[in-house]
């Protein structure tokens, strides 16, 4: 279990993390979402020992991470970094050695990853001569070369074309199937939804939602009902008790029902207007969940 436990951190007057906690099971993939500046990078940097938390800690298998444990973590920083003039193969092997491999094992693993990521022909080229996409692959190889027990990746998908995204996703799924807990942050929520077993949404230094995508959906589900009534006049649903109209556009209506409102009452009202072409509880996408989760506290703040 990789546990982030009640992390707190402020830079000056700016409270960046205010009790961030979540856990990642071995073999599962955790998608870390949040708006820009929400504190995702800071959380990951704390795990890697690059920033010191004011309170809380990060534990792997029950023990707080120290420098030695961190060598068994594969890390990809948000700002990609490689030695521009060093050759691809040597560079990957060097990072293997920094993670504790001996020279022979490191160069073997480096050769293997170079092949696996399709960089075989570029093995002896300096990194600066590679395209951005290929540099990203080298970066991934540097994180994976030592066969890490844990992967922490900050925005690994940013800047990749769709094919690059697919091959990176495949590589991460491989790792997670092999039992490695994978944490990655991303703004590409469709990707997070597709890949991740669980998701955490960070807003203003707090985890506003964690759980599997289904759990999050269930929490939101049962509240939003989409009804399409082409013949209805405007404001047709306004009079139903316990119902709030979220949006309405030419009969395509999204309604929010209070907890005890019977959906059959709504159906009856809808049938009263004429044809009903669609009537279903809405499955919110992660994007909608994200908007809801990130926006909610802000509304409260406004209300207060």
């Amino acid at each position: 279990m990789l546990e982030f436990d009640a992390l707190r951190k402020s830079f000056g007057a700016n409270q960046v993390l205010d009790g961030v906690s979540f856990a990642v099971r071995p073999g599962s993939m955790f998608g870390f979402c949040g708006s820009n500046g929400a504190g995702k990078t800071t959380t990951m940097r704390i795990a890697m020992g690059l920033v010191r938390a004011e309170a809380g800690d990060v534990r792997w298998q029950g023990r707080a991470l120290d420098q030695e444990a961190r060598r068994r973590i594969g890390y990809m920083p948000e700002e990609r970094g490689l030695y521009p003039k060093m050759k691809v193969g040597e560079q990957i092997a060097y990072f293997g050695r920094l993670h504790g491999m001996d020279a022979a094992a490191a160069s073997r693993a480096s050769a293997e990853w170079v092949e696996r990521l399709g960089l075989g022909e570029r093995r002896n080229d300096a990194v600066e001569k590679l395209s951005l996409g290929n540099q990203q692959r080298v970066q991934l190889a540097a994180a994976l070369v030592s066969g890490p027990e844990v992967l922490i990746l900050d925005e690994p998908f940013s800047g990749l074309d769709p094919i690059g995204v697919d091959s990176l996703a495949e590589a991460l799924l491989d790792q997670s199937r092999a039992g490695v807990p994978v944490v990655f942050s991303s703004h590409q929520l469709d990707l997070v939804e597709r890949l991740c077993d669980s998701v955490g949404i960070l807003a203003r230094g707090r985890m506003v939602a964690t759980g599997t995508v289904d759990e999050l959906r269930r929490r939101e589900a049962g509240r939003l009902l989409r009804v399409v009534v082409p013949d209805a006049g405007p404001q047709w649903a306004a009079g139903i008790p316990g119902v709030r109209v979220v949006s309405e556009q030419a009969g395509d209506t999204v309604l929010e029902l209070a907890g005890d409102t019977d959906d059959q009452t709504v159906l009856a009202a809808a049938l009263g207007t004429g044809r009903v072409t669609h009537f279903a509880w809405q499955q919110p996408t992660l994007v909608e969940l994200f908007r809801g989760a990130v926006a909610a506290p802000a509304l409260q703040e406004v209300a207060a």
């Binding site: 010191r52 420098q67 068994r72 990609r80 030695y83 050695r97 920094l98 504790g100 030592s146 066969g147």
Partner: protein, 396 residues
């Protein structure tokens, strides 16, 4: 999961150092600068030899003639300050061959009763002709005087009293020290820049974040400084060994013992000076994130090096002057001044120990304070970090 063992501090420092060395050995600029330094050094020695050998060394072949003639030639050479070597040659044919093959500068044929003859390739230079002419004339004069019954001729000897018998050697000592200090200065600037560029390269390429996820800042700093330092040491030792061996082989200096002493002093001071300046270069370079900003932050350090160099050169002309004596204790300046004082005259052992101890104390201070600045500044990749801010920052 993997068969990896955890590298300790020493292992990490060694890895970083090895990477620095292999990266530099493949760097064209480094190779070129090394070759240029060696070529300049060899060229300077070659010029010494060429300038020095003009009339100073002359080989004269001798066919026939008495042993007295050979001695007379050498005596004459000594009187005229020409280094004469007399080589016995069998006959005139052998003499011609020897001249054609440049084994000798000329051959004096003094066989039979005829007038002695000087064989040369094209023309006899002034020195050769005066030596031979003088020797032959002296011998003939002695013969004729003996024949006339005059012997034991008493000629007054002019006594010579040297006011400064070692002036020439003093000059050589100071010359050696100046060459040594120039070498020290050049290599300190070169390797200091390497260290500074390396630090900024890691920051500007952002690779430093990945590195610091596996090691502490001081391990990175130590590996970088030690790796480049070993390379610098190898280079100065190579240059010094070639220089000293060349100077000894070509017989440029009259005081080989002191040449070796000065060479050892220069190498030893390089080690101390490098540790000091490399740490300063690394720390100041860590304050910026772009190569373009590097010049402004390393300029003060380079100015200190220039001042040290100028003071060192000044010390050569006045090694016991107040300025030289004081600066030979000031850490940072001492590595450029003390070798000059050591070469030029008597520096007491305690002076040397004191100066080195102050330097080492300064290195410890710079490494401790600088290490904090370096650690705090490394991960700040936006703009320029202020030294005071970095010192105050938390330690990760």
């Amino acid at each position: 999961m993997s068969a990896s063992r955890t590298p300790g501090s020493a292992g990490l420092v060694r890895l970083v150092a090895a990477r620095e060395i292999s990266a530099r050995l493949r760097d064209k600029n480094f190779i070129i600068s090394s070759v240029v330094i060696l070529v300049v050094l060899l060229g300077a020695m070659g010029m010494q030899v060429a300038l020095g050998s003009g009339g100073d060394s002359t080989r004269i072949g001798l066919v026939g003639g008495s042993a007295a003639l050979g001695e007379a030639l050498e005596a004459q050479g000594e009187a005229l300050d020409v280094d004469v070597t007399v080589v016995a040659v069998d006959d005139e044919d052998a003499a011609r061959t020897a001249i054609e093959e440049d084994e000798v500068d000329g051959v004096l044929v003094a066989e039979g009763a005829g007038e002695p003859e000087l064989l040369v390739e094209q023309s006899a230079d002034g020195a050769l002709q005066s030596v031979v002419q003088g020797a032959v004339a002296q011998l003939a004069l002695a013969d004729q005087l003996a024949a006339a019954g005059v012997s034991d001729l008493e000629l007054p000897q002019v006594g010579v009293t040297a006011l400064d018998p070692d002036a020439d050697q003093d000059g050589q000592r100071v010359g050696m020290a100046i060459i040594g200090v120039s070498l020290l200065y050049g290599l300190l600037i070169l390797f200091g820049q390497f260290v500074a560029q390396g630090v900024v390269e890691e920051k500007s390429s952002r690779v430093v974040e990945l590195l610091l996820a596996t090691m502490r800042p001081w391990q990175l700093l130590a590996g970088k400084i030690i790796g480049l330092g070993l390379l610098g040491l190898a280079q100065i030792v190579l240059i010094v060994v070639i220089g000293v061996a060349g100077a000894l082989a070509l017989d440029i200096v009259d005081i080989p013992g002191e040449l070796v002493g000065t060479a050892v002093a220069v190498v030893a001071w390089f080690v101390l000076a490098y540790a000091f300046y490399a740490a300063i270069f690394a720390v100041t370079a860590s304050l910026v994130s772009r190569q373009e900003d590097l010049n402004t932050v390393v300029m003060p350090t380079i100015m200190v090096l220039v001042v040290a160099f100028v003071v060192g050169i000044q010390a050569a002309s006045e090694p016991e002057g107040t300025l030289a004596v004081i600066t030979s204790y000031v850490p940072g300046l001492s590595p450029m001044v003390m070798p000059v004082r050591q070469a030029a005259g008597s520096v007491a052992a305690w002076e040397l120990v004191l100066s080195a101890a102050l330097m080492i104390a300064a290195i410890v201070l710079v490494v401790r304070l600088g290490g904090r600045v370096y650690a705090a500044a490394l991960l700040r990749t936006s703009g320029k970090v202020k030294m005071r801010e970095a010192l105050r920052a938390e330690r990760v």
